[in-house]
């Protein structure tokens, strides 16, 4: 074997993937490790003592997500909070890794499209589980002539979920890249005479860009996470609604008005 073949074998696959995909895998690895840490911490837990530290934070987050799920989807869907928490932690971590200079995984359409595809499959599996063969009736609703229109509009949630996240991440990334570039130029012009070399271009950007990072990565990331998880819950639960819950809330509204 020549040196070249070995090199090719060693590098096979990693050159194929862009940095965003590798970063997305790293984020998933972080989440898996965190979930194992949580699992082993909770196994050793003493229920008679009050919780503190890491365990308490995790408990609070899980409880919040569960309440949120029950509020939006009804009691029947309580177990859906696991998927919601996984989705939320993935999206928020993907936004946050670009704070420390890594490529943001969500600026790559493949990643956002994959998580939107998960939600899309969930929607259609839920509908098929609920309606059995009646699932196919939705494509000829209300009249069979509309079949092509229904087949097209079926992809709308997938595209809107994927492109919303991708557009937000990419817009933030592009704007920040432009700001970094021009601030670098400006600081090179100002400080170029004092400091030699490329070091003169890194003086101005850190003074201005933290605000942009706070908006585009942290604030926008939180909002987009909330929206993605909420839309997933609403899309899934409207295929198989919790009827008791709906009746209860309807009765509440009616009794309040009367």
């Amino acid at each position: 074997m020549t040196q070249e073949t070995i090199d090719n074998m060693l590098h096979f696959g990693w050159d194929m993937f862009p940095g965003e995909v590798i970063m997305s895998l790293i984020v998933m690895g972080i989440i898996i490790i965190l979930s194992f840490v949580v699992y082993f911490k909770f196994r050793k837990l003493d229920p008679t003592k009050p919780d503190k530290g890491f365990v308490m934070v995790v408990e609070t987050i899980v409880e919040k997500i569960e309440n949120f799920t029950i509020d939006l989807m009804g009691k029947k869907w309580k177990d859906f909070s696991g998927y919601a928490l996984a989705l939320a932690s993935y999206i928020i971590l993907c936004f946050l890794v670009s704070l420390i200079g890594f490529p943001g995984p969500l600026t790559y359409l493949g990643n956002t499209f994959s998580i939107a595809l998960c939600t899309f499959f969930l929607i259609h599996f839920t509908a098929a589980r609920k309606n059995k063969w009646g699932y196919f009736k939705r494509y000829t609703d209300p009249i069979p002539v509309l079949l092509p229109v229904n087949l097209l509009s079926m992809w709308a949630p997938l595209l809107s979920l994927a492109l919303r996240l991708f557009g937000n991440a990419l817009a933030g990334y592009t704007l920040m890249t432009i700001v970094y570039y021009f601030l670098g130029l400006a600081s090179q012009t100002i400080f170029g005479g004092i400091i030699a070399g490329g070091a003169s271009s890194i003086i101005l950007p850190p003074l201005v860009t933290p605000i942009l990072h706070a908006y585009f990565d942290v604030f926008s990331g939180l909002i987009q996470t909330l929206i993605f998880v909420m839309l997933t819950m609403i899309f899934v639960s409207q295929e198989d609604p919790d009827e008791e819950e709906l009746e209860e809330s309807a009765n509440k509204v009616l009794s309040k008005n009367v």
Partner: protein, 73 residues
């Protein structure tokens, strides 16, 4: 002909027109509600931010197309 892509990007980014009006309406109605019913302030603010982010989507689509026009096509 190379310059046409800049015109295309400018036209695409004009979606901001509609989403701007939409977001303004959301804010106006939310502030209206807050003024009438101050104890609902925090709930209204949450749904206002959510509504703004949802409305922003159409503008984001336009921006996305503009970015693709400029840097990819």
């Amino acid at each position: 002909m190379e310059g046409l892509k800049y015109i295309g990007a400018a036209i695409a980014v004009m979606t901001g027109f509609g989403s701007g009006i939409g977001e303004g309406l959301i804010c106006a109605k939310a502030i209206d509600g807050m003024a009438r019913n101050p104890e609902m302030y925090s709930k209204l603010r949450t749904s206002m931010i959510l509504g703004c982010a949802l409305t922003e989507t159409t503008g984001i689509y336009g921006l996305l197309i503009a970015i693709l026009c400029l840097f990819v096509g």
